[in-house]
């Protein structure tokens, strides 16, 4: 198993500012992901955080808005840049210990509740 710690757990930010969310896993994982969960909506994958290289972004998400780092096997950050009220959401870090076959379960952090005024 893997325990994922995310911080901050919640924040209230002003429009136009940026927030960096940190994700720490208690053991080595193969893949790390960032999801967004808006009220009443499904979890939406933002990007796959790749160790030592640029993240792989899903359609509708770009690096300038959501820069991601993954300097090692257990840590990743997501920055929400130039925030607007539409960015208000829960952001979730997740990881898998699988070998890349694609059917491994995901572990999730508790999420970061972001409110943008």
């Amino acid at each position: 198993s893997a325990v994922i710690s995310q911080k901050p757990s919640r924040d209230i930010c002003q429009r136009g500012t940026s927030l960096t969310i940190q994700c720490q896993v208690d053991s080595q994982v193969t893949m790390m992901f960032w999801y967004r969960q808006q009220p009443g909506q499904s979890l939406t994958l933002i990007a796959t955080a790749n160790q030592g290289s640029e993240a792989t972004y899903e359609s509708g998400f770009v690096i300038d808005k959501f820069p991601i780092s993954r300097p090692n096997l257990t840590f990743s950050t997501l920055t929400v840049s130039n925030m607007s009220p539409e960015d208000s959401s829960i952001y979730l870090c997740s990881a898998t210990k699988g070998l890349g076959t694609g059917d491994e379960k995901l572990f999730f952090g508790s999420g970061t509740q972001l409110s943008v005024l």
Partner: protein
């Protein structure tokens, strides 16, 4: 376009009864399907995985079925308990990339 549908209405069920949730999908050909539990203020927690060539999977009081012809999965909680109250998410995936597509989730409320 691809769609994953779960009932948006909460399922209220008496303790001890069986709760049954449905996950329907369209324009997908998933290799496997996963079910997660999510409590308020927490991230989802993995429960079960069922592959396209499997009809049924069980884990303790949980049972999942997968019908690729109907494009549907059923999730059952037998002998439900108040502690089972949560939102349950289904997620579809293909081999090789770990990129899951999630449904919106279905809330279950077990009444003592």
């Amino acid at each position: 376009s691809q769609k994953i549908e779960q009932n948006s209405e909460a399922l209220n069920i008496q303790e001890g009864k069986t709760a049954t949730l449905t996950c329907n999908y369209t324009n997908y050909s998933p290799a496997y399907l996963q079910w997660y539990r999510q409590d308020p203020g927490r991230g989802p927690v993995f429960l079960l995985l069922i592959r396209e060539n499997e009809k049924e999977k069980r884990k303790e009081r949980l049972k999942v079925t997968f019908d690729t012809t109907l494009k549907q999965s059923l999730f059952h909680i037998t002998a439900s308990q108040p502690a089972d109250s949560a939102t349950y998410l289904c997620a579809l995936g293909a081999y090789g990339n770990n990129r899951l597509a999630f449904g919106k989730g279905n809330q279950v409320v077990v009444i003592p």
